[in-house]
Structure formats: C-alpha cells, structure tokens
C-alpha cells in the first residue's frame, strides 16, 4: 500500500475521532507529558544502611557489625551518607536530580511483607482486607488521567513492567492495565511474518470501515487509537538508541524497556517495576551491597539514558520498599523487619539533597525508627507533579513535601 493511500485512510478515520477523543494527539511522540516510575525494592530494604546516619553516636552501638558499611559511604550533607555501592545515584543527587526523603512510612507499622506491601500499594494503612474491588493508588491515578483526557487516551496509560502479574498498586476498576515484558507485543503482526512491524497488516487497512451506529463508531475510535499506538511504539523503537549502558540483568532489561516507553512519549505515563531480595535476616553486608550495586547500575543507567535523551525533566522516579529494618542488628549479622525508611525521588528539576527529619536513633519506638513522614505525602507530591488531583486518589490532608 502506498503512502498516499495510507495517509488518506488515516485522515478519513481520524476526522470523526477528534471529537470523541478530545486530546487525540496526547500520546504522539515528543509529548511533553510528565511520567512516573515506581521502582519497588521488595523484601524490606534496610534504610539505615542505605542512607546511613553516620553522625549518630547510637548507630555504631546498635550496629557493631553492620555498621562497617559507613566506611566508604558518601556524605549527603546532613550528617547522613549514602551506601558505598550507590556511587552513581549519589552523583545524581549531588547534581540536583535526586532527593532523599527520610523516615517515610505509616504508623503503627505492620511487619508482614504482604500486608505492608498491600498498604503501600493501596495507599491506605486502614485498608483491611484486600479483595476483588481493591484498587491501587496508581490505578486510581490512571483513572484520573484517563478521565482528564476525556475518557480516552492511547489505551496504555499505565503498565507494569517485567512480570506476568499486574501488581496491586496498578489495579483499577475502570482502566485496564497490562503487564509488559516485551514492547513487541504491541506491534502489528501480519499473517505472513512475525516481523517487528508489518506495514501492510490487514488490520491497518480496515480501520475506519463500517456502517453507521453509535457502537460501531466507538469501536472505530478504539481501532484508530490502536493504529496510533502501534505506530507510536514502532516509531519509538526505531528512534530509540540507548545513551547509557544498562547492566545485563533483569532489572537492567526492565529499566531499559521503561526508557524506551518514556523516551518515545507514547502516552504511557505510569509505570511500575520491582526488584527483590532485600529480606536480609542474616549475612547482610555482602547481600545488601550486591543488591544496591545492581540498583545503582540499573537505575543510574536509566537516569543517564533519560537525561541523554533530554526527557529526564518530565520523568519522576520513586524508589521505595515496604518497610525499613530494625535499628539494632540481629545476632546473625543481619537485620529484622522494621518500620519507616528513606525513599528516593529522582527526576529533572528535583531539588537535590535530603528532606525531612533524619533518623534519630536515641528516640526509637519499639526498637524502630518511627515514621516522620506519611508515605502518602510523597505520593501526593508525585501526583501533583503529574497534574493529577490528589484527593480522589489518596483522600484528604496530604501535604506535598516540596521536592520540586
């Protein structure tokens, strides 16, 4: 099929669409819409050994063995230092592209991995039983984004990356959120070839065809948007060349897929991926150092890549875990489930440095660093940055922190 004919078809199909979609071009490449990535450290990351209160006299006392990590840690300027494995992320924070928020959590803490992850995902510590109608905070944010776009969009406003299951935080009752392992799933296939893109896929030809009727018109609108989505992703694949070296591990691959979607500006604005293994009850030092090294390499590459493509400014990255760990180390050179912990927020325009009250180890509650910042205030901050109204997603009363 020649170009003229395709253009004609597209034009013919789009004309009635502009009315029904409102912001029909929202997902077109080069869009300047802000996006959010939530990177979840699963297992309970040891916050006190990630952002280390090196100045606190009690730290060495509580952590005679695990405290060894403070040698080689990099100062953040408020008496805390970053784990030695996080060299690259420290550079981003120092350069004003990343922030640390101390003491984020909720009270009273729940020490079950499952329950605490549910609370972070739902965005409500009071939520009791996760049931079929439970929605996640990003899922509700996706509903808001779709509503703001006049009930339409590219059909892929949010995605879970890297797993088969869609995590609770992306559950929505109105917006279907897929999990993506390969971006190729959203390309055209023709009967003949499983090529990345089939320019002459028959499905493309028939878009816009059909008789009268409201229902057929709605179907046509979805189909035309599907053509745009496929073309947008296809163009994105062709346009994207990595501007950083990603590590050859799962986290690296997932983060690179995320970069491809973000750089393309295909309208997928909410993303989640997870990285596990942080449940360090014994022999923590080598394990934790290895995990943070992987995190540093993967996330460092993503941030460099996005900056290289000039789109870090419209991306926010939240790094959090379901809880921190106990202030005192255990007898197995590890640490047990605790309460609050630090979170990281990266992105262009973030005021670099540390926020909130740094942990005070002389004032523990039940052996834990108590939360000094409700996790929903961080969410509120990020929602504000996305332009999503906070209240329908989180409820009332969550002041943003002022990271931007």
């Amino acid at each position: 099929m020649n170009v003229d004919r395709r253009t004609f078809l597209r034009g013919a199909a789009c004309a009635p669409l502009a009315l029904s979609l409102g912001r029909g071009g929202a997902w077109l490449p080069g869009g300047d819409e802000r996006c959010l990535l939530v990177l979840e450290l699963v297992g309970g990351n040891d916050g006190l050994n990630t952002v280390i209160p090196v100045d606190d006299a009690d730290y060495a006392r509580l952590r005679p063995k695990l405290g060894a990590v403070r040698r080689g840690a990099r100062a953040l300027g408020d008496g805390t230092s970053l784990h030695p494995s996080l060299a690259r992320l420290h550079g981003h924070i120092a350069a004003g592209r990343g922030a640390v928020v101390h003491g984020v959590g909720y009270a009273p803490p729940d020490r079950s991995h499952f329950r605490s992850r549910d609370i972070w995902h739902v965005g409500d510590p009071a939520h009791q039983q996760v049931g079929a109608t439970t929605t996640g905070w990003l899922g509700r944010a996706a509903e808001q984004l779709v509503a703001a776009a006049g009930g339409a969009g590219n059909g892929l406003p949010a995605a879970a990356i890297g797993g088969l299951e869609v995590p609770l935080l992306l559950h929505s009752r109105r917006v279907p959120v897929p999990s993506l392992v390969r971006v190729e799933d959203f390309q055209w296939l023709s009967p003949g070839a499983r090529g990345p893109i089939a320019a002459d896929a028959p499905s493309r030809h028939v878009v816009g065809a059909g008789g009268a009727g409201e229902l057929l018109a709605a179907v046509r609108a979805a189909q035309t948007a599907g053509v745009e989505l496929a073309d947008g992703l296809t163009a994105a694949l062709q346009r994207y060349t990595p501007k950083a070296d990603y590590p050859d591990d799962d986290l690296g691959r997932h983060l690179q897929l995320i970069a491809r979607l973000l750089v393309a500006g295909v309208g997928t604005r909410l993303l989640h991926t997870s990285f596990g293994g942080f449940d360090t009850h014994a022999r923590q030092l080598p394990t934790h150092a290895g995990l943070l090294r992987q995190l540093d390499a993967g996330l460092g590459a993503l941030l460099d890549d996005l900056a290289g493509h000039g789109c870090l400014d419209r991306v926010g990255v939240l790094v959090h875990s379901e809880f921190g760990r106990r202030a005192a180390e255990n007898a197995s050179q590890g640490s047990d489930h605790g309460a609050a912990g630090p979170v990281f927020v990266f992105g262009g325009g973030v005021q670099g440095g540390t926020f909130g009250q740094k942990p005070d180890l002389s004032r523990l509650v039940d052996g834990d660093v108590p939360p000094t910042c409700d996790f929903r205030r961080v969410y509120a901050e990020l929602l504000g940055r996305l332009g999503v109204p906070v209240e329908p997603v989180l409820g009332e009363g969550f002041e943003p922190i002022g990271l931007w």
Partner: protein, 434 residues
C-alpha cells in the same frame, strides 16, 4: 405488544445467516459457516433445538473433571473450561456457565484452590440450566464461594456480612430490594456455613440457631432458608430477567422487556432453561435492536474465532491470549464480574485482538485444521474472496464501505491471500460486535 412473542420467520423476515449467526454467538460460542448454513436450511426450530438440546442427550460436562483437577493447577482448570467451551456440545449450557461465572464472580486469586474452582464451574454446568433456587442453595454451600466471601469466618460470635450482602445485592435481588437489617439477619442465618476438607461443612457449634427475620420471613433460619427466601421474592425475577437480557440480548434492556421476561420466568416455574428458551425464540431476541448490540468479550473473540475457523487450537494458548486481552477465567476482577462492553475495547486491546488472529491464521496458536486456504478454497477472484470472508466472519452483513475495504484488501493481497482476507474481516468493526 409482548416483546417475548415468538419470532415467526417469513419471506419478509426469514431465518437467515444473520439470525442464525446471532443465535449461535449469543447462546453459545459461535459456529463454523457450514454448520450455520446447515441450521439455516433446517430452520429456526432445529437451530433452537441445536443450542439447547435436552441435557440427557449430550455428554456430561464433567466426564474429564477428575483429570482436569489432577494437576492441582489453575491454568489446567482454566484450559479445561476453554476446551469445554470449544467443544460446545450443549451451547446454551456452556454459555450459561459463562454467565453464572460472571454472576457469582469468584476469583481464585483469593480462593487459592483450583479444585474448588473447578467444582464450582461443574456446579454451574449441572444446575445452571435448571431452577434458580436450587442453584442459589448450592452456591451458598459452595466451598469456593464461601471462601471468596469470607463466610468461612462467619460465626455466631462474630458474624461476617460479606456473603449475606452479596446474596441480596449481586446474586438474587439487586440494590433497593432489601434492608440493612435483612443483611444482618441473613448473615446470622449463614453463620457456621463453613468449609472443611474442601467440602461444605455445617459447623453447628458456630451457627446462630436463634430466631431471625429475613425479608419478612421469621424462624430459626439457616443458609438454605436464606437461599429459598431470596429466590422466591418477586424482585428476584425482575433482577435476574434484567441480567439475562443484558447478557443475551441488549446491554440496556427496556422496562417492558424486563417485566415480560420476569413474567415468563414465573410462568415457567422459575426454571432458567425454560425461560431462556422462550427468550431465545422471541422477536425481541431476533430484533434489529439486539443484533450486534454488544461488544465481544475476549472469550467470545478468542473462542469464537477458533470455532468459526473450525480450528484445532491449543486451549492453554487460548487461555493466555484471553488473559492478554483482559479476561482471565476463574479470576474475575471483582465480585461484580467483568464490566464488559466498551471496557473490553481499549486501543491496545484491539491491537492485541488483531495480533491474536494473525497468530491463529499463521498456525502459531496451535495446528489449525482446516487452514485458511482450505476454508476459502475455490475462491480465486478478489470479489469472491471478500464475499466469502464476509460470510465466514460477519454473517455476510457489511456496510458498503466495509465491503469496499475488504475487497481492496483482497485485490492487494499477496501470498496466503485467504489468510490475509480472513484476517482483515476479523479486524472489521462489525466483527468486534457480538
């Protein structure tokens, strides 16, 4: 005029391929063109008999149930359900089990017991075309449902209202037809209605055996009584009638249609199968208002496409395809089941539908027999190819514009032309409609 008056084919309004396709899609999971052509020749009565034969005349759905649950895998149970739908030995039974699964929407994500899920579906197969009060009684004793709605922690000391509420709101009556007091009392009646060793267990010592009053009926009520009381209410007839109309006929039924179907339900002794036979033979069912008034669910699309092409596809792969399209059987998104209709057709989902058919026709979802080329053998002229594809996929009923597009595809097609044209036909907006 009674909307349920029987449809009587005439020269002006014949029982043709459109109507036959409509019946087989709505009361089953579709059928191949030769089968539809045969039923058109044999006439409406034969077609109605085909979708709802006497149960005794078809193989039991649970012949392979033990083997299906042997693996302890929910994926296998899911594939088994898809396989049953593909067989479609009793189209209406298979369709009704799909309906009841959405109605008593129970998810393995919480139940975590593939066996219990498989047995629940088998209960739908067994009782789904019979009397609703019997089905409801069985469901209130169903281990999967009891777990799903937390009734296994509903005790006389600490009543849990979850099941009682859904019985009234979602299963039998609908909002506004019961009071909060009815829920509290029904929850008491359901105390001790528990599960043990994977089976219903009446825990007498946890059951509140005091007097209760549910929907005006007093006595030492238990779970069976709750089912019987709720199913006997006149509101229940209208509630179910509306659900059936939305599922089988039109997403927005009119009031008189609901009243008529509720009346038929009462008349036929509250027998689901008998009521639906009336509905499926009615003018309303075959009306222009009903035709192509719904969006195909992923199950309709995936299973229907395979049946239409006469394929021999791998059920396991079809389960995966349905999941990417947003429908995972035995894991509905909520107690309310799937929302359906336009929610199915996000732009991304439509793209995935198109790719599914591409995969299917290229033999990547299992060995298809007959292949597309054989299906359309004998058609070489582009206009014949396009017309054949339209008959295969769209009842031969396309707008002039759509026919024109299909013809253009047929003219431009190279290589496996039959596959290209069939794929194009399944991408038409008309094909997305049920």
């Amino acid at each position: 005029m009674n909307p349920l008056a029987p449809y009587e084919p005439s020269a002006r309004d014949p029982f043709d391929l459109r109507k036959c396709g409509h019946l087989l899609r709505r009361a089953g999971f579709g059928a191949s063109l030769p089968e539809r052509q045969r039923l058109v020749r044999e006439g409406l009565a034969a077609a109605l008999q085909h979708v709802a034969p006497p149960l005794a005349e078809v193989p039991a759905a649970d012949a392979l149930l033990n083997e299906a649950i042997a693996f302890g895998s929910i994926e296998r149970v899911r594939a088994f359900r898809v396989w049953l739908a593909l067989q479609n030995t009793h189209p209406l039974r298979e369709r009704l089990s799909y309906f009841w699964h959405g109605h008593f929407a129970t998810s393995n994500s919480k139940v975590q017991d593939p066996r219990a899920m498989a047995l629940m579906m088998a209960t739908f197969d067994r009782l789904g075309t019979g009397r609703f009060d019997e089905l409801l009684t069985a469901m209130l004793r169903d281990p999967a449902l009891l777990r799903w709605l937390d009734n296994d922690v509903n005790t006389s000391k600490q009543p849990n209202e979850n099941l009682a509420r859904e019985v009234f709101e979602l299963f039998a009556l609908g909002r506004g037809n019961y009071s909060e007091r009815d829920i509290k009392e029904a929850a008491r009646a359901l105390t001790g209605w528990h599960v043990r060793d994977g089976q219903f267990f009446r825990a007498g010592y946890l059951h509140d055996d005091g007097d209760k009053e549910v929907l005006g009926v007093r006595g030492k009520l238990d779970g069976d009584d709750v089912a019987a009381i709720a199913a006997a209410r006149p509101e229940s007839a209208r509630f179910l009638a509306e659900r059936w109309l939305r599922f089988f006929v039109h997403p927005q039924p009119e009031r008189d249609e609901i009243d008529a179907l509720a009346g038929a339900y009462e008349q036929h002794g509250r027998d689901v199968g008998a009521t639906l036979r009336v509905l499926l033979g009615s003018r309303l069912f075959f009306s222009a208002r009903a035709y192509r008034s719904k969006i195909k669910s992923p199950a309709d699309f995936v299973i229907g496409s395979v049946r239409l092409i006469g394929g021999r596809a791998q059920p396991t792969a079809l389960v995966a395809a349905m999941a990417t399209l947003g429908e995972t059987w035995l894991e509905p998104p909520s107690v309310e089941g799937w929302h359906g209709e336009l929610a199915w057709l996000s732009p991304a989902a439509w793209l995935l539908r198109s790719n599914f058919v591409a995969d299917l026709l290229a033999g990547r979802r299992g060995k298809l027999a007959p292949r597309a080329a054989e299906l359309l053998r004998g058609y070489t002229r582009p206009d014949h190819l396009a017309r054949a594809a339209s008959l295969f996929c769209c009842d031969g009923d396309l707008s002039a514009d759509a026919s024109e597009r299909l013809l253009e595809v047929a003219r431009a097609a190279q290589g496996d032309r039959a596959a290209t044209v069939l794929h194009a036909a399944t991408c038409l907006p008309e094909y997305q409609l049920l």
